[in-house]
């Protein structure tokens, strides 16, 4: 199984042929982490690196609610993500949603996010995403961690 540890401690791993899991701990209780990851006003305060402006965040915690996220880079390019909430999300039950980047329309994935109480105001989140094809999964893994595109770096350096 391929696993990458990102510089912030997030562990990204391939699961089977079609899934990726992402695991990380936070210094707050599950309720608080859940709220920070579902309340659009709070999400807008942390999602994406600082150089990507957040121009729109919507979301909900009821079955069938839609969520959207729109980023804009410094050159004015926009990156739009969207999906639908499935079930009744909570810190105990976790949350389920679909995910689509409109830059690659039709490559829709299904995500589960769980919150494990580690005690002492610490929570471990695990985000699992299931893709429609192994190619989609591998392409996404390459962008999220130390994947195959890294092999292009030496090539680029030689140009």
């Amino acid at each position: 199984m391929s696993t990458t540890e990102n510089r912030d401690g997030t562990v990204v791993a391939k699961v089977g042929d079609h899934a990726i899991s992402m695991t990380r701990e936070f210094a707050a209780g599950p309720e608080k982490v859940f709220r920070a990851m579902h309340d659009p006003e709070l999400v807008a305060q942390w999602i994406g690196p600082e150089q990507l402006e957040v121009t729109e965040v919507t979301g909900g915690t009821a079955h069938g609610d839609t969520w959207t996220l729109v980023h804009q880079d410094t050159e004015g390019n926009t990156y739009e993500f969207r999906g639908v909430v499935h079930g009744q999300p909570s810190a105990e039950a976790g949350s389920f949603r679909t995910f689509e980047w409109l830059g690659m329309p039709g490559h829709v994935s299904f995500e589960r996010l769980t919150f494990t109480d580690l005690g002492g105001d610490r929570t471990r989140i695990e985000a699992t995403a299931v893709y429609l094809s192994a190619e989609d999964r591998d392409g996404m893994y390459d962008t999220m961690g130390d994947g195959g595109y890294h092999r292009l770096d030496p090539l680029l350096a030689g140009l």
Binding site: F26, A36, E135
Partner: protein
């Protein structure tokens, strides 16, 4: 580079053989015959891959006598790499900021 162009570049890069063709072209221009013998796939298959790469702007093709040579075009690849560099960093940067938010929130 527009989103549409990035789609073409990433679509082209999503195939292992096409990435191998690009890696080979980084060493210099090559003919279809040369690429065919290198990758042990049929000549029409190589031609199809080259068409995809050309459409994405990743290679250009020139004629030298009776031979058609493929040449690597660096610019789209470098743009794609910049975008990937940003996205690879996406979650690390996001979660660092979420750490800060949770810390602020508890004080």
């Amino acid at each position: 580079m527009t989103d549409d162009q990035l789609d073409l570049v990433f679509g082209a890069l999503a195939d292992r053989t096409r990435r191998a063709i690009l890696a080979r072209l980084a060493d210099g221009d090559a003919s279809v015959n040369e690429l065919t013998s290198l990758f042990r796939i049929s000549q029409p298959a190589v031609s199809k891959h080259l068409k995809v790469l050309e459409h994405a702007g990743l290679i250009s093709r020139t004629r030298q006598g009776t031979m058609r040579l493929s040449r690597l075009e660096a610019e789209p690849l470098q743009t794609a790499s910049r975008w990937l560099g940003t996205y690879r960093e996406y979650w690390s940067a996001s979660f660092d900021r979420l750490d800060d938010l949770l810390r602020r929130d508890s004080s």
